[in-house]
């Protein structure tokens, strides 16, 4: 019983995390970053930016 409760709580956590994450990611439209990169591809690819 206890294990089931824990699993349910973990699943709930994942559900909350997943749901909120999906909304956040969708709102911020991550493909926009890729689109901008593709518009002006540099000769040397950035390792990252600050």
């Amino acid at each position: 019983m206890g294990v089931v409760v824990v699993l349910l709580v973990v699943l709930a956590g994942v559900g909350v995390a997943g749901g909120v994450g999906a909304i956040v990611v969708n709102q911020n439209h991550p493909d926009r970053v890729v689109e901008l990169q593709q518009q002006a591809e540099p000769e040397v690819i950035d390792y990252g930016s600050r």
Binding site: G2, V3, A17, V24, E43, Y47, G48, S49, R50
Partner: protein, 535 residues
């Protein structure tokens, strides 16, 4: 197994699946520094015996050996799963409590946080393997402190995942020193020095210094209005803004970070009554935070620049946020202990996950397995058993291929092709170039192809190959993704790395220590040791 133990294991498995479920599909996750290939070459570079600074030693050699028997994608999935499962389980077990809920909070706090998310999305899986080992190293250190027989063998074995990389090895050594106490400094140092020898010996044999421009480029970054110090205290602050989860810009986060930090410190005060070395772990955490933010403090960048300009190996300090791992452990167990008096411990665990929802499901598209195009296997076949080094064009350390959804990824050629591959190692951060450390790559940038027998051109990624150069070469293969050229008349390059003998001795020393530890624990030899107090 006790029922409450089962709950902890179930939580660790749940955390692992919550992050890595999409990663477990067939294929290779190729993102930033994380490169896995079907079969990694076991060459001189993997042992630090090339001209370049040995930055991926000994992990490249270990992965190469592993992929001799297991496909590379399985090695990758096992390594990534171990980060979450082993790390969470270790943090949970480290807390001295009889309440499983408290252990679960520690497990969640240690693995579901910004440090793990940012380093995972940056592809720093070896660093994270070391991170996952830290709670186990701490437990082994505490056993040494208590003079338990054969505890040193446990320390050797728990440090193994960490010593795959230089930062991981140092993180583990610091944790072991903090937990084992003053009276065990010498044996712990001895173990640390020997186990880390496969990377520090070849590093000492190289005379190269790192580019000091990396100090500011790789310094901790403010993720919200709280600035770099609060970002780091909340276990975030990695230099690369592209890998930072969007939830880290949450405007409430600095306040929550202060609350959680105070709660963790109160928990550590309570924990100090039950667990020796709590104070040392807290001090180590403070050192980690200081190292992480030092380049952002007045005068800190100047001091670090001077160190990197003049001290070989000081380049290790330039991405200082990685040392926050030392704070993550006391933070997680302190936070867990403070929840001991709460009835809603599970709620705390769920809330910790809710603060960073975008770590779930492989970061929602950040980590996604892909297959290498068939050209890669074809070129590898052509180069099998062929002597000579391969130069890779376009000259750029990173790639963006359509077949990997144009994610930024390290060039896979050095780990895919047999033999030695010379690729550019200069790094561009926000358009600012940070010089590389491989003299052979520097010669390629100067159009000097001395000692190169083959040229591989990768298509579909930014950058150009020198057409005038290619016209002078013999085309051996031309596919949709790759072209291979033979350089006529060039003899195979002679190895020009550090002397082999010290490096071999380093591997023998580390290997011997591991073997003796295993024998001492498992076989007859260990039976001559005094009986254990408790196990």
């Amino acid at each position: 197994m006790r029922p409450n133990g089962l709950k902890l294991y179930a939580t660790c498995a749940g955390l692992t699946l919550a992050v890595l479920a999409p990663v477990l599909m067939p294929g290779y996750v190729l993102v930033y520094d994380m490169v896995f290939t079907p079969r990694q070459p076991l060459n001189a570079v993997a042992f630090g015996l090339s001209e370049a600074l040995p930055r991926a030693v000994p992990v490249d050699a270990v992965v190469a050996l592993a992929t001799l028997v297991v496909p590379g994608q399985l090695v990758q999935k096992l390594a990534l799963a171990a980060i979450f499962f082993v790390g969470a389980l270790g943090a949970g077990k480290l807390v001295p409590t009889d309440k499983t809920g408290v252990r679960i909070v520690a497990a969640v706090a240690y693995t579901w946080n910004a440090y793990v998310a940012e380093r995972l999305f940056l592809g720093h899986w070896t660093l994270l393997l070391g991170y996952a080992a830290l709670p186990w190293v701490a437990m082994a250190g505490l056993r040494m402190r208590a003079n338990e027989p054969r505890a040193w063998t446990r320390l050797v074995l728990t440090m193994l995942p960490a010593v795959l990389s230089a930062p991981g090895g140092l993180l583990a050594l610091g944790t072991a020193l903090a937990t084992a106490g003053r009276r065990k400094v010498l044996p712990v140092l001895g173990i640390g020095v020997v186990l880390n020898a496969p990377w520090w010996v070849p590093s000492l044999l190289h005379s190269g210094l790192s580019d000091p421009a990396g100090v500011t480029a790789f310094s901790a970054r403010a993720e919200n209005w709280g600035g770099p110090v609060l970002s780091v205290l909340g276990l975030g602050g990695v230099w690369n803004g592209e890998v930072v989860p969007i939830s880290r810009t949450n405007p409430v986060l600095p306040v929550i970070t202060v609350v959680l930090t105070v709660a963790a410190l109160l928990g550590l005060r309570e924990l100090a009554r039950r667990m020796p070395a709590t104070r040392n772990l807290t001090i180590l955490g403070a050192i980690g935070v200081l190292l992480a933010v030092i380049a952002t403090l007045p005068g800190g960048a100047t001091a670090m620049t001077a160190a990197i300009e003049h001290v070989p190996g000081a380049g290790l300090l330039r991405d200082g946020q990685k040392w926050v791992a030392w704070w993550a452990l006391p933070f997680a167990i302190g936070l867990a202990v403070i929840t001991e008096r709460l009835n809603a411990r599970m709620l705390v665990a769920v809330l910790l996950m809710g603060l960073l929802p975008d770590l779930a499901w492989g970061g929602f598209g950040r980590l996604e397995p892909v297959d290498y195009p068939a050209d890669w296997a074809r070129v590898r076949e052509l180069l099998d058993d062929q002597p000579g080094d391969v130069a890779v064009l376009p000259l750029s350390a990173f790639r963006r291929f359509d077949w990997n959804d144009r994610r930024t990824q390290l060039d896979p050629a050095p780990r895919y092709l047999p033999g030695t591959t010379v690729a550019d190692d200069a790094l561009s951060v926000g358009g600012r170039l940070i010089a590389g450390e491989d003299p052979r790559a520097a010669r390629l940038r100067a159009h000097d192809y001395t000692g190169i027998s083959w040229v591989l051109v990768e298509y579909g990624t930014p950058g150009r190959a020198d057409e005038n150069l290619l016209k002078r070469l013999e085309k051996v293969y031309d596919g949709p993704e790759l072209a291979l050229y033979k350089v006529p008349g060039v003899p195979p390059a002679a190895p020009n790395g550090p002397p082999v003998a010290p490096v071999v001795l380093a591997w023998i020393a580390a290997g011997s220590l591991i073997c003796v530890s295993l024998l001492w624990r498992r076989l007859l030899v260990g039976r001559f040791a005094p009986p254990q107090r408790e196990e």
